[in-house]
């Protein structure tokens, strides 16, 4: 017997709690009638049904129709707890359980299944008079909780990473982030219920991010200020704060990517250029680190500047380009690495490499990648900055997806293939993030193979972090895979970024074949190296896949990581020697040794330091994730060293990274 009475006063919440819309479910007709009368007495709008299925149907039809559900525990067609769960998952409405039995075990069961309250029959009217509090409470915490399961599901799809640790880590991170971010259903700030006092979160969907990226590129990364971006985007409901925070993340992402690229570009020229970019990034949270770099050697600044076309984009692009260029070049030319070894560290070299390859050009939309690459190469020795840039790029990449790319580039590991890959990866990563405009194209163009290395890193933006450290290793590129996997919406567009991921992954593998034949899995590992910092971000990407925003955040995160890393790398330059080792280690680990040697040869020192720095960043970012990641890397003694270094740096940078990451979660009310 289904009794449906819908009282539609239409009063709404004028005299709350009167008018509260309650759905009562109980198979016992007497109890149901009694409940209905009691609720009416409290001046609520009551709808009753004796069947749970009917109740679900009504709820699904219109999620906004009810404020609260009261359900009996024992029902013939469906268990009350099951209904409770479903309502909580699908509609996220407060549910009150009702039962004759007040057994604590049952009450506990209700609580664990998410019930707001548990009443024992016969219910007194006094008890019902206060049920409205659950509605208010739920609304207050809704923004945070909502994303819950529903979002997670989405996230899961997007998170391509499914690879072992990364997946787990990312999953967790993503989930967290996703939940929060996905919580807001729309990009826009949507106020689902007027009664909610919290501002809904802004979800940076792919489209929204695309608009954002377009606005930024239009303005120029240098001049991209939130207010102008906001105006250009012309999106309803978006606040300047939202844009500002997103911009921050984006910058970090670029940084990361560029650091990855820069690795490749170690080649001085690239580095120089990159540096400038990075420098710019510096202003952002982590970007500051880059500053010192830029000072150094702008070597390629010119070249790098190319990269920075369009402000952020430029940055991204550059890194990508660099990476690409770098990677190919680096890969191809082991010497590149050496070039890079200049203070610039791998990054610088990477750049040159990238420049040479120019393959990535397409990476960034407007990035004259080829040009830049050349320049990057020139920069080679660039100055620490260049290297940083490269590193940054690579790092960024790594972070985003090319962890390896950036790093690798410098290490030459990428020789040829990697370079391309790096580029590709960068692009991928870059594009993946949604920034993807750039990278995606490039990525595709680049040898995915080569990118693999870098890509891996990029794809794994997050992973890239690991890669970063592993820059030496193409594996990091591989790590970009994670990136791939992520459904990041961006990648779809560009496929560039993320789509590259798979590609990247492939590349990664390719790379391994070339030098580092790091298996995709490795890339994962590399990820953590790079991705440590980047991983997290990339993971986010992947996992988030769904919301572009997430991805971006991830990238940003990685960027952040990079940025700090860059800073670190700067200092690392000195330690480059160490880093090289590390890099080598990573490479070895990742690449399978081939890379490592390359890296070492390159004098990755810079790289090493940078990668370390990057790694650190990534670590920081990924710390959460990385921790687990690091562990695996110990297979190689060098890796172990790296890991140790990374860890150390992590700790140092953790602060930075964390900072970065925070940015990502586009908190509501941004």
């Amino acid at each position: 017997m289904t009794v449906e009475k819908i009282m539609s006063d239409g009063e709404g919440y004028d005299d709350f709690p009167a008018g509260l819309r309650v759905l009562a479910v109980d198979d016992n007709p007497i109890c149901l009638k009694l409940l209905e009368t009691l609720l009416r007495k409290c001046q609520y709008h009551v709808t009753t049904t004796s069947q749970a299925r009917m109740a679900l149907k009504m709820l699904r039809e219109n999620k906004d129709r009810f404020d609260l559900v009261i359900s009996d525990v024992h029902m013939p067609d469906m268990d009350g707890f099951k209904l409770l769960e479903l309502v909580g998952l699908e509609m996220d409405l407060p549910v009150i359980m009702l039962s004759e039995n007040g057994d604590p075990k049952l009450v506990m069961k209700g609580v664990t299944h998410g019930a707001c309250d548990y009443l024992v029959k016969p219910v007194r009217i006094e008890e019902l008079r206060n049920i409205w509090q659950h509605v208010i409470r739920k609304k207050r915490t809704k923004p945070k909780n909502q994303h819950g399961s529903a979002d997670q599901g989405n996230d899961n799809q997007s998170s391509g990473e499914g690879n072992g640790p990364h997946a787990d880590r990312n999953g967790k991170c993503n989930r967290k982030r996703k939940d929060e971010e996905d919580f807001s259903e729309d990009n826009e700030n949507e106020n689902e219920d007027p009664a909610a006092s919290k501002k809904p979160r802004v979800v940076w969907s792919i489209e929204l991010h695309r608009k954002f990226v377009a606005a930024v590129s239009q303005l120029g990364i240098e001049k991209a200020v939130p207010k102008r971006i906001l105006d250009l985007m012309n999106v309803e409901g978006l606040t300047r704060e939202n844009v500002a925070s997103h911009l921050q993340k984006y910058r970090l992402y670029l940084k990361r990517i560029s650091s990855v690229a820069s690795q490749q570009a170690n080649m001085v020229a690239a580095l120089g250029v990159k540096d400038s970019h990075f420098m710019r990034m510096a202003p952002f949270e982590g970007l500051g680190d880059f500053r010192p770099l830029s000072g150094q050697g702008r070597l390629g600044s010119a070249a790098l500047s190319h990269y920075t076309t369009g402000g952020m984009f430029g940055r991204l692009n550059t890194p990508n380009v660099n990476l690409h260029n770098l990677s190919p070049s680096t890969l191809i030319q082991p010497n590149h690495g050496q070039n890079i070894t200049n203070s610039i560290s791998a990054l610088g070299k990477v750049h040159p490499a990238l420049a040479s390859t120019n393959q990535s050009q397409s990476l960034f939309q407007g990035i004259p990648s080829s040009l830049e690459l050349d320049q990057l190469q020139q920069i080679k020795c660039g100055t620490g900055m260049a290297s940083f840039n490269a590193m940054d790029n690579s790092r960024l990449r790594n972070k985003f997806s090319d962890p390896g790319a950036a790093i690798n580039s410098s290490s030459n590991i990428f020789n040829s293939s990697t370079n391309m890959m790096l580029h590709g990866s960068y692009q991928q990563t870059m594009s993946g993030g949604g920034f993807g405009d750039q990278s995606s194209q490039n990525m595709a163009s680049l040898n995915l193979d080569s990118f693999n290395v870098s890509v891996n890193s990029s794809s794994r933006l997050l992973d890239s972090a690991t890669i970063q450290s592993s820059t030496t290793q193409p594996a990091s590129l591989l790590s970009t895979e994670p990136f791939h996997s992520q459904p990041l919406p961006m990648s779809t567009t560009g496929n560039n970024g993320f789509s590259n991921d798979p590609y990247l992954q492939k590349n990664a593998i390719d790379i391994s074949s070339t030098t580092m034949s790091l298996p995709l899995e490795d890339s994962r590992e590399m990820h953590y190296q790079q991705g440590l910092v980047g991983d997290i971000p990339s993971q986010r990407w992947g996992e988030q896949g769904q919301s572009y925003g997430h991805g971006s955040t991830a990238t940003f995160g990685s960027l952040n990581a990079h940025i700090p890393v860059s800073g670190l790398s700067h200092s690392l330059d000195h330690d480059s020697g160490i880093i090289n080792e590390k890099m080598g280690v990573f490479t070895n680990g990742r690449l399978g040794g081939g890379a490592s040697t390359l890296m070492l040869q390159n004098g990755n020192e810079k790289l090493a330091s940078e990668s370390r720095g990057m790694a650190n960043d990534s670590f920081l970012l990924e710390q959460q994730k990385i921790q687990s990641v690091f562990a695996p890397r110990s297979d190689d003694p060098l890796d172990a060293m790296m890991n140790a270094m990374i860890k150390r740096e992590q700790e140092e940078t953790i602060a930075n990274c964390d900072f970065g990451f925070d940015e990502y979660s586009f908190e509501s009310g941004m």
Binding site: N28, C31, L34, E100, I125
Partner: protein
């Protein structure tokens, strides 16, 4: 007359046939729901008649399906407690306990007891309502004052 009615009710309470829940029902009765109590009680009769029949059928089976019996009785108990049928409710609880331990004899015995209590309650409440209906208008008139 009213006093008589009140006395009747009081007796029912004293004898444990009804409990506070019944008062709650009466309180819910108002101008918007003038015959609420009667409606609910009538609903109860109908529903419990159905349940009793089901339980009887289940008790004739062999071996007894205790979980099903318990489930049926759970419903019966719910209804009974909703209208405040105190004695019937306690019989239900006992019945469920027998089911839980698998005491077939206990179930059957208790069920007989339950049926008796139910029948008694129904009779008494009917009388009460009839009486109340007779003096009803008067009462209402009084109340409206």
């Amino acid at each position: 007359m009213q006093r008589q009615l009140a006395n009747m009710k009081q007796t029912l309470f004293d004898q444990g046939y009804l409990d506070e829940q019944f008062i709650q029902l009466e309180e819910l009765q108002d101008d918007a729901n003038p015959n609420f109590v009667e409606e609910v009680v009538t609903l109860y009769y109908r529903d419990s008649a159905r349940l009793i029949q089901n339980i009887e059928q289940a008790l004739e089976k062999s071996p007894l399906d205790f979980s099903k019996l318990e489930c049926l009785m759970h419903q019966f108990k719910g209804s009974s407690s909703s209208i405040g049928a105190k004695r019937v409710k306690s019989e239900c609880t006992q019945f469920k306990e027998h089911c839980r331990v698998g005491n077939a004899d206990g179930c059957k015995r208790t069920f007989q007891q339950l049926k008796k209590e139910y029948a008694t309650l129904r009779k008494k409440v009917e009388v009460y309502f009839q009486f109340a209906r007779q003096i009803g208008p008067v009462e209402k008139a009084c109340r409206s004052k």
